[in-house]
């Protein structure tokens, strides 16, 4: 879940401007005032769309034209107000640089740092919350990634290891890459270790790339000894969880002997999120796009209920568990018993899950509103938004919901 707004307000703004930046007059404004403004702009956008709806049938060309102009201006104002929360990534880069220097001295490794994109801007909250995962990644690269100096020399590499961190915008998202030219991730070692720990069954086979992804499983650590640089039993699964919570994604690209690159893709802001609007039992919910793998519509007969497995559906030859969103939410609703079943196939850490809904209304971009503290610790609910007609709707955190429901059913069975 996202941190309470009130907490962000209490913190002083991070230093943004530095003398080396171009000289532009700036003004320091409290985050709470900014948030109020952004709130009001969001409300204005809703009213504007209601107004546009109301005049769309009007016969007055003049009125329609004015409202059209108003839409344009409103959109500009919204974009501008969203931009106000954006800060450069530079302070985080400086922090990482410091950590790399300190840790490499501690490990007696000779490291060259390559930083690109310190002026890239990102939402202040995203910046705050990506800091810890990035520190973890960098420490990992230094400790596990880059080999000791003598090892590097035997491998015919330069004595100096390189860590490069690049930040850039790509298709409306922030991308951060942490790359090292170290030993890479050996898929065989990873697989052997995962099997030994019982994280995967012994008979399972993996492509080298899939095997590398296993480092994201919880309870995984390849290094035999735990050092104080990295490895406190938290590991990469926490990094991935943190990135996912921000609506992001993390990929590994690693070649044995050459090095490893972690690529993180994040939304530019948490204030707006892309989602799919669904209907269940006359209520509407927003499912964040990050969790949505695909949407399917199948005949009811294709759902197969099996003892010890539950309801599953075969999708491209793979059985996918099927759950009903109404049941997940424990909300009374008249889930339709029509011949066709509409479902959203969602990505969770355990794999794909088909979530049955009454109707998929469409894709949309929503302004995220925090719930009050009285409703903030509800599992599986990430926040809320206000829909075009002015009614609030909940934004669901699908993996958490599925997990909570699974725990409930095992408790019942026990």
């Amino acid at each position: 879940m996202l941190p309470a707004l009130s907490e962000q307000r209490a913190k002083p703004a991070a230093p943004v401007a530095s003398p080396s930046n171009k000289v532009e007059e700036s003004l320091r404004v409290s985050l709470s005032r900014l948030e109020k403004l952004i709130n009001f702009v969001g409300e204005m956008v809703i009213l504007q769309s209601v107004l546009a709806e109301q005049v769309s049938g009007s016969s007055s060309l003049q009125l329609r034209r004015t409202v059209h102009q108003l839409s344009k201006v409103t959109k500009d104002v919204q974009e501008l107000s969203m931009g106000l929360r954006m800060v450069p990534i530079k302070p985080l880069f400086q922090k990482l640089q410091r950590i790399i220097r300190d840790v490499s001295a501690q490990l007696q490794k000779n490291i060259e740092i390559d930083l690109v994109g310190e002026d890239v801007e990102v939402d202040k909250t995203v910046l705050e919350r990506i800091s810890d995962p990035l520190v973890h990644l960098v420490r990992n690269s230094l400790d596990h990634g880059i080999e000791a100096t003598d090892q590097r020399l035997t491998a015919g590499k330069s004595q100096k290891g390189t860590i490069s961190i690049r930040a850039f915008h790509l298709s409306g998202r922030l991308n951060i890459e942490v790359a090292d030219d170290g030993g890479g991730i050996d898929p065989d070692k990873i697989l052997a270790s995962a099997k030994k720990k019982g994280l995967v069954s012994a008979g399972q086979s993996f492509s080298p790339r899939d095997a590398q992804q296993l480092i994201f499983l919880s309870g995984f650590s390849t290094k035999a000894e735990v050092t104080d640089v990295s490895g406190r039993g938290v590991g990469m699964d926490v990094v991935r969880t943190n990135v996912m919570e921000l609506g992001g994604d993390i990929q590994i690209d690693s070649e044995v002997g050459k090095g490893t690159t972690f690529s993180i893709s994040l939304p530019l802001t948490l204030a707006i999120t892309d989602g799919v609007l669904v209907e269940v039992g006359n209520q509407r919910y927003v499912l964040p796009q990050t969790y949505v793998h695909e949407t399917i519509s199948v005949e009811r007969e294709q759902l197969q209920e099996k003892t010890g497995v539950g309801t599953v559906i075969m999708l491209r030859g793979e059985p996918i568990p099927v759950v009903d969103l109404g049941a997940l939410l424990r909300m009374k609703g008249n889930t339709t018993n029509s011949a066709d079943v509409t479902a959203i196939v969602a990505k969770t850490r355990e794999g794909l899950v088909a979530i049955v809904v009454d109707r998929i209304t469409g894709q949309l971009q929503v302004v995220v509103k925090q719930l009050g503290r009285e409703a903030q610790n509800l599992r599986g609910i990430a926040g809320s938004t206000i829909l075009g007609d002015g009614m609030p709707a909940l934004i669901l955190e699908v993996p958490e919901l599925v997990k909570a429901a699974a725990q409930r059913s095992t408790r019942r069975a026990a």
């Binding site: 941190p3 309470a4 009050g372 009614m391 609030p392």
Partner: protein, 168 residues
Amino acid sequence: MAEMMHKNDHKTSRGGERRLSFSLGSQRFAIPLLSVKEVIAVPGLTPVPFTPSHFLGIMNLRGQVISVLDLRKKLDIKPGESTEQAVIICDLSPLTLGVLVDSVDSVLSPDAASILPKPEGTGAKHTEYITGIFQEGNDLVLLLDIISALDAQDFMAIDSSATKKSAA
């Protein structure tokens, strides 16, 4: 609504702290006016799963999403017969909560001397929420501790575990 409050305010001003009185079922309650942000008609509500039964849902108050609670359910009071209903938006900083009541009556200012301690030993439920009573015409008005009645102190203690969780 604001105008109505002003009128009543003049009529009943007796110099004490100003309180907003409202009805739940057939009973009258009063809460400090300072904790009231505004009074609105019952808005459209979106139910929230995994919440207790007195949690009615969330509403949109000019762009802010606010939780609305049913005080009658919380205090085990049968709803009144009147169809008039209102939501009192309470500012219990840092919380803002909406409270559904049967009707909003008036602003009263009973002076401190006329406020009596609640009778003890009646064995009634929910006595912890009542801080005193006073007479208003033929009615007894109960002073309600809105923070404890809504369990608001519990929510205030919640120090958003989300931020702690994210520390890797």
